[in-house]
């Protein structure tokens, strides 16, 4: 019996599509609701980011609740940067009770890169320990060894970054996450399929589902910036050049084109189990991408 709708989809063997919504910096969630409405029937699940880049926002848990209210399937992104093990466990109990049953376990970005640079970084746990903690809760106990009155059950996932220069430490980490019980992985943005191919050669030995991350670029400058500053992202020179070649104003269009091309390649060559589309603030264009890629005919929960 699948723990969640998304888990069913995972086990169904279909080409998986997930995407994400970024919550607002404030109490006004109108736009987020709009995006949720736009996407909930087109994808298998929607992630809600958790203070992405350490910028304070409306909480991921809140966003997942909203998705549930509107009939969508949420993936609760949970970082260990801001809450200790008591708070994390409590949030998970709440999530489960509200039908939020997919959790993406992350360590989270450093406080130093965000907009509250004087805040205290918590990091009571890391991503692997978080995965294990969920397993412990599923067994009916909390991390203190006490009996739970009502044990939760989750479909758990983690992140992996195949496009990295020194792959061996990353693979060691990947192994640990698989061993800890991760069922699915969403990768950081990929721009070069060979990289994905190489990674899948290693990862296919495990019974886990890999969703390739697709980040939509809007300009050559954005691509260069990501190359220089964002860990786990390598944008090949060819792609940067492609973006640089277009006239002003047509950057996003080209970015979408590149994204669609990648998705199509992945699907046609069956490189991995699906894609995770990250629009980085431009959630509105995701349906266009799906259309162009020929994906996401209405999914009804």
């Amino acid at each position: 019996m699948a723990k969640s709708l998304f888990e069913e989809k995972l086990n169904s063997g279909k080409f998986l599509i997930t995407t994400e919504v970024g919550p607002p910096k404030g109490a006004d969630i109108t736009e987020m609701v709009h995006h949720i409405e736009l996407l909930k029937d087109r994808v298998d699940a929607i992630n809600v980011t958790d203070h992405q880049s350490s910028v304070m926002r409306f909480p991921s848990l809140g966003g997942c609740l909203v998705i549930r209210e509107h009939g969508g399937e949420p993936v609760f992104q949970m970082t260990t940067r801001d809450r200790n093990r008591l708070a994390l466990q409590a949030d998970l109990l709440l999530a489960y009770s509200r039908g939020i049953k997919n959790v993406l376990c992350l360590t989270g970005d450093c406080v130093a890169v965000g907009d509250h640079k004087e805040a205290k970084p918590v990091f009571d746990l890391d991503s692997v320990q978080l995965l294990k903690m969920i397993k412990v809760m599923e067994s009916g106990k909390d991390l203190g060894g006490n009996e739970l009155k009502g044990a939760p059950e989750f479909c758990i996932g983690a992140s992996v970054h195949p496009a990295t220069d020194s792959i061996e430490p990353q693979l060691i980490k990947f192994d640990k996450k698989v061993e800890a019980g991760a069922q699915f992985f969403q990768t950081q943005g990929i721009y070069e399929v060979n990289c994905l191919r190489r990674f899948m050669q290693y990862a296919s030995q495990f019974n886990v589902k890999i969703l390739a991350g697709i980040i939509v670029l809007a300009s050559a400058r954005m691509a260069q910036y990501m190359n220089d500053n964002v860990p786990g992202v390598i944008v090949p020179q060819a792609v940067i050049d492609e973006l640089a070649a277009v006239e002003k104003g047509k950057g996003l269009q080209k970015g979408i084109e590149i994204a669609v091309r990648l998705i199509k390649t992945i699907k046609e060559e069956n490189l991995c189990h699906g894609v995770h589309i990250m629009a980085v603030g431009r959630e509105g264009i995701v349906p266009d991408i799906l259309d162009a890629a020929g994906l996401g005919v209405s999914m009804h929960a």
Partner: protein
């Protein structure tokens, strides 16, 4: 080594405002080694405050100087009794430990900290000090080839690296090495990579709960001692 940095002159200037006669007290151990509060720094601070005073045209303060071997053991402070009586405040250039022991020893005189104690660290190159130990109370350097993940990893995680590691550097600062890449490399050299493949459960933070104390003496009753 405990490493500290002298507070900005402006802040010290504000701290000493209410006091007329001030003893600038240096420390001859860690603060000397890291160049933040030894005899030379005491004399330098004295000069700096005096120049500021001379230029400001007021003569609000008069300073005296002294340096003891350490301020963190109260026996070293006994020699100061008369000097402390003569002043209105002591501006201590010792680390936080020394300042507190000093304050406890001389509760009737205000003790002001002249340095910001930063960390326990080591000399890297001339004028450069790196933090090495966070006093976590659960040293795991055997598992990480002698590289501490608490002090050298920005997130202090035990199952690293995180997603923020790029080109062997940390996402926080391109000049900072990713500790877990360093650990990987050194474990590989030692042929001990299985230590990195192991799962490390969440940290036990109990040793860090404050206030902390270590009791190293044995307390045995006479009976125990006699009867064995």
């Amino acid at each position: 080594m405990i490493v500290a940095e002298q507070k900005p002159l402006e802040e010290i200037g504000r701290m000493i405002v209410p006091y007329e006669k001030i003893l600038i007290l240096g420390c001859g151990t860690c603060m000397t080694v890291c160049g933040a509060g030894g005899e030379r720094e005491v004399s330098l601070l004295h000069r700096a405050l005096s120049v500021a005073q001379a230029r400001g045209g007021n003569e609000a303060h008069s300073f005296s100087e002294y340096t003891v071997k350490r301020q963190c053991d109260f026996e070293f402070l006994d020699v100061l009794v008369n000097r402390v009586d003569e002043v209105d405040a002591v501006l201590s250039l010792a680390c936080g430990v020394g300042v507190q022991v000093l304050a406890e020893r001389f509760p009737d005189v205000p003790v002001l900290p002249g340095v910001n104690t930063s960390f326990m660290g080591a000399y890297k190159e001339w004028g450069v000090w790196d933090e090495r130990c966070a006093a976590c109370g659960e040293c795991r350097l055997a598992e990480t080839a002698g590289i501490c993940p608490i002090t050298r990893c920005a997130k202090g995680i035990l199952n690293g690296p995180c997603a923020g590691s790029k080109n062997g550097k940390c996402e926080v600062n391109k000049d900072v090495d990713c500790a877990w890449v360093l650990i990987y490399k050194r474990l590989e050299k030692l042929g001990q990579l299985e230590k990195m493949r192991r799962y490390y459960p969440p940290r036990n933070f109990r040793p860090t709960h404050r206030p902390r104390r270590i009791v190293s003496r044995a307390d045995i009753s006479i009976q125990e001692g006699v009867n064995g």
